[in-house]
Symmetry: C2
Subunit: 251 residues, 2 copies
Amino acid sequence: MSEPLNPFYISQKRNMNLVLLENKDFIDNERVVLRGRRFKHLISVNKVLRNDRLVCGLLNDKIGTGLITNVENDSLEMKVHLTDDPPRPLPLTLVLALPRPKMLKRIIESVTSLGVKKIYLINSWRVEKSFWQTPLLKEESLRKQMVLGLEQSRDTVLPEIYQKRFFTQFVKEELPQISKNSLCITAHPKSSRICPAGINKHITLAIGPEGGFIDIEVATLKEQGFSSYHIGQRILKVETAVTCLISRLYS
Amino acid sequence: MSEPLNPFYISQKRNMNLVLLENKDFIDNERVVLRGRRFKHLISVNKVLRNDRLVCGLLNDKIGTGLITNVENDSLEMKVHLTDDPPRPLPLTLVLALPRPKMLKRIIESVTSLGVKKIYLINSWRVEKSFWQTPLLKEESLRKQMVLGLEQSRDTVLPEIYQKRFFTQFVKEELPQISKNSLCITAHPKSSRICPAGINKHITLAIGPEGGFIDIEVATLKEQGFSSYHIGQRILKVETAVTCLISRLYS
């Protein structure tokens, strides 16, 4: 939901609003060749043609445009000109009890599109042990979801995702350093206080699994300075709650 | 994400946080028999036993508890006591360009869980014609998604969903009456104004398809009093944007 970056913007359905480039795509200083997924998506969904200009960005780097100079059967070539900074990251560190695999996939994509750059996936009493076995936690799989989120939101900066399988050790030994100088919030349905809105500073936000953190976990987080807040009377799915909380905190 | 309704609350994984009853489930004034989906979910996911108490609600009516008095192979019986009002509806009328089927399903469930009670699915230039053919638009299918949303958020009041296939006719002839006395907002990425937050009044919110409403549609909405706003530099998926907007407007 954004102003097009430049006058060459082409209306694009689905979620490749930016062509994310990597260094290895470059054949010289300014020319790239695309094959595979991106090529297929651009041809079949975006229906691009020679001389079209697309919004492009280099991974963890600048954003700009690419002029399609040649289209072959299995590849296309663009001349790119990358001049602008990617959108500002959201000053939020997300500490999330590992959701079930299908939901994990969608959450990684959506929080990436919202601009979150640091995600800690942690264990918690109500996280089913089997969730830690999912191949979706492998680096290339997480990266795939993040790339979809970046392409969607026209960003280039890949989030960092950390996996922490020991709740108490993580919260007591690592979280104090991670959350230093930030507002520390535990989203907790049983809290009596409603979550603040429109905070424009760095936040570390801890969100429990379906069913919530258990009381001792909330207490352990509280010892590290995390105050707990609810976001209303309704129980929401974790994926809905994550988006609601982020939108509320930065409204 | 809510305070349990009563001390008999049982931690429940997944999304049946309330057992939604219908009049036909009652075998007398206070006893119900459940079979099929709800029975299976309660047994296999929630692992309920005789003498457990569950949060229950009667469709479009009160909420309370049910005491399981008997469990058979294919059914269970509860004695229910329904005393409380369902959570307040969100004072929001959602006018949504028909999303693609998979997304439609998730959006209906999530906006129901957020408390939206009136949804107009409308056509728009960038809505693919084929989307109107999906069986997911059939009444029983929409109802299924709404029921999941109600069970998730402990609500009983089924939203009303209307399907409007003629954009201009709908906006010019019906929308003025529908949106009367409400704040009228078009979510539009190209707008130069950021969407207001923390509005606590009735809102009619129009959200376009992937790619947004086209300019003439925004203008037609504007003629009916709809001001357009963006929600930031990032382009979001419609399902993420819907949740963000609702959370922001009622933060």
